[in-house]
Amino acid sequence: MAAPLPDTLLAPGVAVPAPAGAAARRRRRALAPDILIPAAILALIAGGCFLWPLVYPVPAPVGGSILSAGLPPFSPGHILGTDPVGNDILSRILYGGRVSIEVGLAVTLIGLVIGGVMGSVAAYSGGIVDTVLMRVLDVLIAFPALVLAVAIAEGLGPSELHVIWALSFFSVPAFARIARAGTLRLHGQTFMLAARLSGTKAWRILLRHVTPNVLPQLITFGLLGMGVIIILEGALSFLGLGIPDPAPSWGNMIALGQGTLSAQPVLVLIPSLFLLATVLSLNLLGDALRKRWGVR
């Protein structure tokens, strides 16, 4: 162990030393429009949902008066109009967006942490642990995921927390598969061998050598996956299994608007537009980061 190791063995993340000036170029490219624009839109939507009601008071999202029901957009006091029971649509969009963002973030984080650990530990230890995990994942893949989510949401009763549990059921295996594949790819790499030979403990190898290599993949997948999760949250709410009715969520707003689709299409179009903008930005950001980091 006295002999100095070459650079490539010491720095696991960087296999090839970056040429001079590359760091500066990378810093400049951090502000590239393909990353900046979707990130800004996401920040705007999230900031609006969580901060606007605090800074600039909006009417309550529930308990509106029937006297102000069915106002079209751009009515005084109600920028986006009101729904058939007199609730302010803007306010419902903002509070409903909180649900989508909270569920999307929570489910993705649960998947990233639990699935990521499961996948990399299984791939690193191999043998029976890996085999059992792979079979379980096979089952979950053949299982119609939405059925499971519906069953859980239905059985536990509609609430935000239960939606998070139900959706985590299939974010965890998805992340586990990615983490496993990423870890397997590291097998036989020189720095992994060097770490093992120098007597590094398994948990330390996983933390210091595997994690930095697998994380970019998990993060880009997480951004793309978050879009799917937000759509699925909407689907559960749409089926009446997500956020219970008077409380708003983009999904149940779309479902409620379905009844008056021909008379008042705005009720469906407004929440749909916000849903689309959020998911599209997540997809664009994930795609841009994937290209940047050269993942897959």
Partner: protein
């Protein structure tokens, strides 16, 4: 989500085929003995065996989920006013008082012999429920599948013809947008445009194939588009990326070009054909996503398919019906993947002739 992720299942990588192999079906058909000992068949056999524990796992997981959840069938059937005695009688009748393992074993041994049981709620045999509902779902599934592939392949090929060109950039932009639309939102938008405003396609209802072929296709077009379009957008991006990669990096492309083959012919006959291998896997893996979407989309268009039955049965805690539907779905996914492997074997000479592949 799961389908977009993980690694491709056992099978050769799509790239790196040295030279262009035309899938001559003559060899496949004539060499009967070679087929029997062929590695393709061995692969198939192995996959078939490994499907058994997967299917078992799916039914077991369903049983566990349906049992762990609070609420029970007797309560759902009799309502809140039922007396404890009534509940007890019904539970005894439906064998709900027996332990979990006994009931699961009872169901499993029945299912293994082809008896899927009777619905706990209506008492109807599950097979007759499936018989009524599945044809509609299958038809929609096949229609959606064909629609997504028929949209994806030409668009991807056109986009890959000039990477960075106008067609490419436009189709990449549109497909990203299409990918981000939730199927249930798209369903409502399509209804708004084609049923409410243009009045060319029906918004709800189903016309059986036996009644009118045109009416049947019309009644399924909007549902199929709502699921098929986002799916097609996903396929377009994948297929285009793969074709572009093949066109830029493969030796056989250079050879074909040097021979003087027209660029679009290289793309269609060489690159696209090779990209199809990877594409097949993706198609197989995505069937699960497609089925999940069907369950939400069917009720929107009031289609008498399996989706509504499934949602109602989950709500009624009708384990028998839920088990049967989940089993059918899982069977479709498992066999679709098996079929993908078989198609690989038919199409890829490296597997057909049993040469070792990476």
């Amino acid at each position: 989500m799961a389908a977009e992720a993980g690694p491709a299942p056992a099978g050769p990588p799509a790239q790196g085929v040295p030279g262009d192999h035309s899938p001559g079906t003559a060899q496949w058909g004539s060499a009967g003995r070679a087929v029997l000992t062929s590695p393709a068949l061995r692969v198939t056999g192995k996959r078939l065996l490994s499907a058994v524990p997967v299917l078992w796992g799916v039914t077991f997981l369903t049983f566990v989920v349906m049992n762990v959840l609070p609420g029970d069938t007797a309560q759902e059937l009799l309502g809140a006013n039922a007396t404890p005695a009534e509940l007890q009688t019904l539970r005894l009748k439906l064998h709900l008082n027996e332990p979990f393992w006994v009931r699961y074993w009872h169901w499993l041994s029945g299912a293994a012999q082809g008896h899927l049981g009777d619905s706990l709620v209506s008492g109807q045999p599950v097979t007759s429920i499936l018989g009524q509902r599945l044809p509609v779902t299958f038809e929609l599934m096949i229609y959606t599948f064909c629609l997504s592939v028929l949209i994806a392949v030409p668009v991807a090929a056109a986009a890959a013809y000039r990477p960075g060109g106008l067609v490419d950039r436009l189709s990449m932009m549109l497909s990203m947008a299409g990918l981000s639309i939730a199927p249930y939102v798209l369903a409502l938008l399509l209804v708004l445009i084609f049923a409410v405003n243009l009045r060319v396609l029906p918004a709800i209802g189903f016309v059986p194939l036996s009644q009118s072929v045109v009416g049947n296709i019309k009644s399924l077009t909007l549902p199929a588009l709502s699921i098929g379009l986002p799916l097609a957008c996903f396929y377009i991006r994948l297929l285009r990326a793969d074709i572009v990669e093949q066109m830029q990096s493969e030796d056989y492309v250079v050879t074909a070009r040097a021979k003087g083959v027209a660029p679009w012919q290289v793309l269609i006959r060489h690159a696209l054909r090779n990209s199809m291998f990877g594409f097949l896997t993706v198609l197989g893996l995505n069937l699960g996503t497609l089925i999940g979407a069907l369950v939400i989309i069917e009720p929107i268009f009031s289609l008498p398919g399996i989706g509504q039955v499934l949602l109602q049965s989950i709500s009624d805690r009708d384990v028998v019906v839920v088990e049967a539907v989940v089993l059918v779905f899982a069977l479709i996914v498992v066999f679709a993947n098996l079929l993908t492997d078989l198609l690989y074997a038919v199409l890829d000479p490296r597997i057909r002739y049993g040469r070792p592949s990476a």
